[in-house]
Symmetry: C2
């Protein structure tokens, strides 16, 4: 390693650059590695059957001895969700994070009972730790979950700020407002590089204060007389707190529905991060014991997730909750891109059953916990960094965030837009993208399999979904040199076979012709070639008749 | 039929109620049927491989002799797209519509060359026709395509207005502004029922005038120096006109990319519904002959459609257009719900290649041709109907539109929210939903098949996409009473077989055990039972090992 290279800090995003979710970034200095966040991503539309995606840990796997530790910003799954999948691959490394985040990580770990307990040290606003060449000071920033921490990292090349997800909030839930004075003091140390989150970079203006959201929700609570059924994210602790507080204000009992929301609330309650009066919570099976005007249900599923409580309620599949005309439904979180249609279907279903529906378009009751343009620019003005690296967001958001930084006077040559797997070099003089790439392709989680669903399996799933499949089973009598009986055909997802007898008859005839021609030739038969022919010719024939291309799977058995 | 029933007008929506698209409504009076619109719908997310959906024509099929004709509002596919699929089922019936709509229907019909030419009579603003008991007068309303017509229908029970899709526009493209005087005059005849479109019912305010959109586009054209590549809908004739006009203003040549857009422009040009100066259009292959600052490309694919020109350009698959850093990309249409993620991916790809990207969030350059709340209320105020039926939209939009009508003083008992297939009775005194239902479930079009993909095939496709499939082929030696050799396994979309040898070995062992146990019993073997066992036991085993549930297809062959 050359001296100049030795003096660079290497910054390597493994996820979250060019996507919303799967956040994970590495710092590497003289061979020592610090990890920031370890999140999961939602599967893309072209990933049927996939539960989630996680960052690729191939680069880390070869370097386990060099990993100093992981620092985690906050407890949302796009920041902690990959921990149980990644730690078994890279070894048990110490994690440093806030109390609630620690609680949520440990709670989730219970679902992975065969794994050792991760080693987590609690830090808070003002905590300082030293990991190899890195001195990290944690500082509080508001988001929509308690214990959200940004990082001030003193490195040998200079001081770096990592903002976590954040918004500037003058009146947040259960936490003090943004401490601008403290941020300015940190900035006075001189910031070489600001790494700031980009989710809201394409949104004009300033995010709503949690207080405004509370007031808007209050307006609904005030006038509603029937039950209130409100859906949110399981980890949107602040919104859950608001719904509980309002229920208490209007003397409503609260039933929580959804396993993950229940466990998160339990963790938050134990840590006193959520305030619930004694007697507020009731079991869902008991809601009928109270008048409708005294009932709130808070549940998971505001994104239209198929198995969540909200969907089960809408589909008449919930044991204790059936929609009545007097019910009021609140969608209290904004829609994750890609879920718009599912949410619409869910909303329509509630409407159909006669309930009153409130959603984020109608009132500002949604949950954006992310700084919008005005706040992002303010963060840049406060930190006055020499270099700027927009992190965490779709590529278009990173580009827009870079433009905002330029507007704030940062020279374009001091701004880098990086993608997952790209290696960025930082020293006192330059921030630059290198040509080096580390593996960063999606690792897909499907059931118990991590990374075993790759391009091939995924492409097969896509093709199967498009036009189904068509298995041909031909038994060949070796001695007679011809097919035995009629070939079996098994098909799924292609065409309704019972109503396609003519097509099947014609297809069988062609199969017999192809096989007999080969088998009856007298010489040795190249069955691989015969199968190829079946695949191609039967495929073409079916396409000509249907304009569909099922996956053709020929099986030839000699007896 | 009782006399009271005889005097009812029956209104039967076959599509478009509770969905955006697939618009088609029937009027039936004393057995005679009038059809309004015949549109296609986009496939839902849970319909892999489906090209589009069309209204169910089962009710009409039995009544072909009673059909008087079809009146069509305008040339968008969600209003005309089902014509070539439906006419062959219900017989050739006369169609009445505007000149451009006629041109677009006939052009599309060329793709269905084995069908007879539909019989279409051109009508325009002020045209009157009589079909059985219905006297129809067509009147012009602005939308984002020329020749958009609303219907005033005099029926034996009273006068009815059908608004088509519309917006009130003071300065539209190539057409006169909304003629409020004429609308008021029509209203003076006394309107029993207003049927008004609902797409914009959840949007506050007033839609943008086409002039405002033009000015916003002009701001982009004015400052851009490189090429402009703008995407839109193929049938969004007004937006295409604006892009052409601006190109001419800034001395840019225009290349059109995308088959359907080209044909629509050709039709519109022939009918003088779109104005293009001589020499403006060039072939795409010639764009390199002009300076970049003198080139516009207008193409299909603003929704992120996979095969469209825009996507091919983004993916480096276009023969003549590769993105340069100096290019400016314009997404000039709003996003159809469900396409948000595809559009984001496309946008990111253009950003990545360094182009400047404009999309509807950044400037008001999107295409909503639909009346928003203020216009919808104005329409109600102008028509002063006794009864109100919100049409064309998601269920939540119909509900909101009904609320708007209530705000405008229409009694809730005079408003009906109807779903596809419900029969609505109208007479001078009441508008009411009956309990009668006609078939209205989705008819899916897939390749050459219309309606042959049903629930079963679709569910198989969904399951195949989730976890793939697993075919077991066991050859049984009848005499020996046991399995012959090792069972064949064919699997796709489940797991990467080459890396799962241990699992396969264990699975084969279990297959052999199950089959041998049955075959070696001595007596007659119930192979159906054996197959069930294979399906269940092997399915459970694979699930226990992978938490995935591929479709198991057992084949047992006795030799």
């Amino acid at each position: 390693m050359e001296k100049s290279q030795k003096q660079n800090l290497r910054i390597i995003p493994l996820g979250g650059q060019g996507e919303v979710g799967r956040n994970m970034i590495l710092f590497e200095y003289q061979g020592k590695i610090l990890i920031m966040d370890m999140g999961l991503g939602f599967p893309e539309e072209n990933m049927p059957g996939i539960d989630c995606t996680i960052p690729n840990s191939a680069y880390l796997k070869k370097r386990t001895k060099d990993i100093l530790g992981t620092i985690i910003t906050h407890g949302h799954y796009d920041h902690i969700g990959a921990i149980p999948y990644t730690l078994p691959r890279i070894g048990s490394i110490p994690i440093y994070t806030g109390a609630l985040t620690k609680g949520m990580i440990l709670k989730r770990q219970e679902d992975f009972s065969n794994q050792p307990q991760p080693e987590i040290e609690t830090v808070k606003d003002g905590s300082k730790i030293k990991l190899g060449p890195f001195e990290i000071e944690f500082f509080r920033l508001n988001h929509n979950i308690p214990d959200n921490l940004g990082f001030f990292i003193k490195t040998p090349v200079g001081n770096i700020i990592h903002t976590s997800d954040f918004k500037f909030d003058e009146s947040p839930v259960n936490e003090p407002p943004t401490n601008f004075e403290k941020l300015k003091k940190i900035a006075q140390r001189g910031i070489l590089l600001l790494m700031s989150e980009s989710t809201g970079a394409e949104e004009e203006g300033h995010s709503l204060s949690e207080e405004t959201i509370f007031e808007n929700l209050d307006k609904i609570f005030k006038k509603v007389e029937g039950r209130i059924i409100a859906a949110s994210f399981a980890s949107l602790i602040n919104r859950i707190q608001q719904l509980i507080t309002l229920s208490e204000k209007y003397k409503r009992k609260v039933a929580i529905e959804g396993y993950s929301m229940k466990t998160n609330i339990k963790v938050a309650q134990t840590l006193k991060k959520i305030k619930v009066k004694k007697g507020t919570f009731i079991k869902t099976k008991d809601i009928s014991k109270f008048p409708d005007s005294k009932i709130s249900v808070i549940c998971t599923g505001a994104q239209g997730e198929e198995d969540a409580a909200f969907m089960r309620i809408a589909n008449h599949e919930h044991k204790f909750i059936q929609i009545k005309k007097e019910d009021t439904i609140i969608f209290s979180s904004s829609i994750v891109p890609g879920n718009e249609k599912s949410v619409q279907i869910l909303k329509d279903e509630f409407h159909r059953q006669g309930a009153k529906v409130f959603h984020y378009k109608m009132m500002d009751i949604h949950a954006s916990g992310h700084a919008k343009q005005e706040e992002l620019k303010e963060m840049i003005r406060i930190m006055k960094p020499k270099f700027f690296l927009p992190i965490y967001g779709q590529y278009s958001m990173l580009v827009k965030h870079a433009e905002l930084a330029e507007e704030e006077g940062i020279s374009p040559k001091n701004i880098v837009i990086a993608e997952n797997g790209q290696v960025i070099n930082l020293n006192q003089k330059t921030l630059s993208l290198t040509k080096e790439r580390v593996p960063s392709n999606y690792v897909m989680v499907d059931g118990l399999g991590i990374g075993d669903v790759g391009e091939v399996v995924l492409r097969d799933r896509q093709n199967l979904a498009q036009d189904g499949m068509f298995v041909i089973i031909a038994i060949v009598d070796r001695q007679a040199g011809k097919i035995k009986g009629s070939p079996d055909i098994i098909s799924r997802g292609f065409i309704y076979l019972r109503e396609s007898k003519e097509l099947l008859k014609e297809t069988r005839k062609r199969i017999i012709d192809i096989v007999n021609k080969a088998a009856g030739s007298g010489g040795a038969v190249n069955w691989t070639h015969v199968k190829d022919e079946l695949r191609n010719k039967i495929g073409e024939f079916l396409f000509s008749k249907t304009k569909r291309r099922p996956i053709i799977l020929p099986v030839v058995i000699e007896v």
